[in-house]
């Protein structure tokens, strides 16, 4: 029996040592421009989160496809799930696409948007970045197509309007309320994320009259702990009668809106003074409209050439 087990182990090792060749099939090139659009989101273990991001494609597809220069629009996840960016770019290459417009559905600048996505598609080639992606099991694929990456969601004023509207829905007496913005955060771009939170606070103040704000991070930067959010909520409740907790998150993920933020609120032991709806930026018609407009803008620029 032991010889059988040994044989199985050795056999497995031999199989794993045979790597699959990843071949870039030559696409049929007859000089015709073929433009594709790829909506890219982060990816999540939450099925609800993934469904919300793919719903963006469903909402914008028919409008974007009215642009005769666009042959197809698809979605991809940066990590955790398939279809990955590499999978989609390989599809585009195999189908002969000459140009791909990537629309990252990311809040603001981060290591993901600035380094990971460009590295995954071959626009940046730092070996250390490639190794980091490999360690996270994110495939890197240098596409044959020309790639353009559109700006991020904070490029527009839509984010501020979205947050202000959601705060208004919960607000009853702005003079007695403070607001806590809870976002994922980013260690390398902490300054930019803090600036974004301050900017959003200013917009919310103008729109709602609430004048007491705090913000906290809920992501990797704080090791997904609840304490920073609990602390931010308490700092507002020290000054105001009630607090509105606002997730500045693209979609709903049970781990974030449910566990991290929800548990953070529980730990204040002041739930009666806190208003919280575990919602997200999506769905947002204005945001979908922006995706359509920015995509058309980039596609039309490419089509002119």
């Amino acid at each position: 029996m032991l010889r059988y087990i040994l044989g199985m182990i050795i056999g497995s090792l031999l199989l794993t040592s045979c790597s699959q060749e990843k071949v870039n099939t030559d696409s049929a090139q007859d000089g015709t421009q073929k433009i594709g659009v790829l909506l890219v989101s982060h990816g999540s273990h939450s099925a609800a989160w993934r469904k919300m991001l793919f719903a963006v494609e469903d909402s914008v597809k028919s409008e974007i496809m009215k642009n005769k220069s666009v042959q197809d629009i698809r979605s991809a996840y940066m990590e955790y799930n398939e279809p990955s960016i590499a999978t989609r770019m390989k599809e585009f290459d195999e189908e002969g696409y000459t140009d791909v417009v990537i629309v990252p559905l990311f809040l603001t600048v981060s290591a993901h948007s600035f380094d990971d996505i460009p590295t995954i598609v071959g626009l940046k080639s730092s070996q250390s970045e490639i190794e980091k992606l490999k360690q996270e099991r994110i495939e890197v694929y240098k596409s044959k197509a020309n790639i353009k990456i559109t700006p991020l969601l904070d490029f527009t004023e839509i984010l501020g309007k979205n947050l202000a509207n959601r705060v208004k829905q919960l607000s009853e007496n702005p003079a007695e309320e403070g607001c806590i913005l809870v976002a994922y955060g980013d260690e390398e771009y902490n300054k930019e994320w803090t600036a974004l939170m301050n900017k959003m606070a200013s917009v919310i103040e103008v729109e709602t009259g609430i004048n007491e704000f705090s913000h906290s991070w809920c992501g990797h930067i704080v090791h997904y702990e609840t304490e920073p959010t609990t602390s931010a909520i308490n700092s507002v409740l020290d000054k105001k009668k009630n607090a509105i907790v606002m997730p500045v998150l693209v979609a709903i993920d049970e781990m974030f809106q449910g566990q991290i933020i929800g548990d953070a609120i529980d730990k204040t032991n002041k739930k009666s003074r806190i208003k919280y709806k575990p919602d997200s930026i999506l769905p947002d018609k204005n945001l979908e409209q922006w995706v359509i407009e920015i995509t058309n803008s980039y596609v039309n620029d490419i089509a002119k050439k």
């Binding site: 182990i9 794993t16 460009p118 080639s125 730092s126 250390s128 190794e131 980091k132 099991r137």
Partner: protein, 189 residues
């Protein structure tokens, strides 16, 4: 059915011994990488990340920056960089990429931070296996896990006499069980 104590005892002992030998290396890999990954909050188990402040003099206006300026600054610092490219995430910052790291320059403050990233060779590969790279390794690691289950159960029946499971052994097994349940209880509340 009459239990043939001697035969099954010897079989158990042989299997425990040989399966134990077979998986010594894998047990070490999973244990060492387990310790490394267990402390991921305190260190990066996969990469050496060296950060230091450096002096890179660039114009405050990002539009005035070009590759020649950057290359001159890298020469001036005197470090051996395999320069790749530069890019700007916004009007305040410039990131200079080289083969094994990058320098992030804050144009507003004039500060620049160099980050060099190199793999922790061997540990990186062990962590990679521990986290399951997928494919056939899923089957291999499942076989290993089943073998560990066997080793833990079979190990209880190896010793005889004073150190057997019926006598001294039951206290150690009981203590391990109680401690584990206690921690599980603590986590749940």
């Amino acid at each position: 059915m009459e239990i043939k104590n001697g035969k099954y005892y010897k079989l158990n002992k042989s299997l425990h011994r040989d399966i134990g030998y077979l998986f010594v290396f894998m047990t070490l890999i999973y244990s060492i990488s387990g310790i490394a990954i267990n402390h991921a909050k305190d260190w990066n188990p996969d990469f050496y990340v060296r950060k230091e402040n450096v002096e890179i003099k660039l114009p405050k206006n990002v539009n005035e920056i070009n590759e020649n300026l950057i290359l001159n600054e890298l020469d001036r610092i005197g470090e051996n960089f395999s320069y790749l490219m530069y890019d700007s995430p916004n009007s305040d910052k410039v990131k200079i990429y080289f083969k094994d790291g990058a320098i992030m320059c804050d144009l507003e403050t004039g500060k620049a931070e160099l980050e060099r990233v190199t793999k922790r060779h061997l540990l990186f590969e062990m962590n990679w296996l521990h986290r399951n790279p997928g494919g056939v390794w899923t089957i291999v690691s499942d076989i290993f896990a089943v073998s560990l289950i066997f080793l833990s159960i079979s190990g209880m029946f190896i010793m005889k006499g004073r150190n057997s499971l019926k006598r001294r052994g039951k206290w150690w097994v009981g203590a391990g069980f109680v401690a584990t349940i206690f921690f599980m209880f603590i986590i749940m509340i």
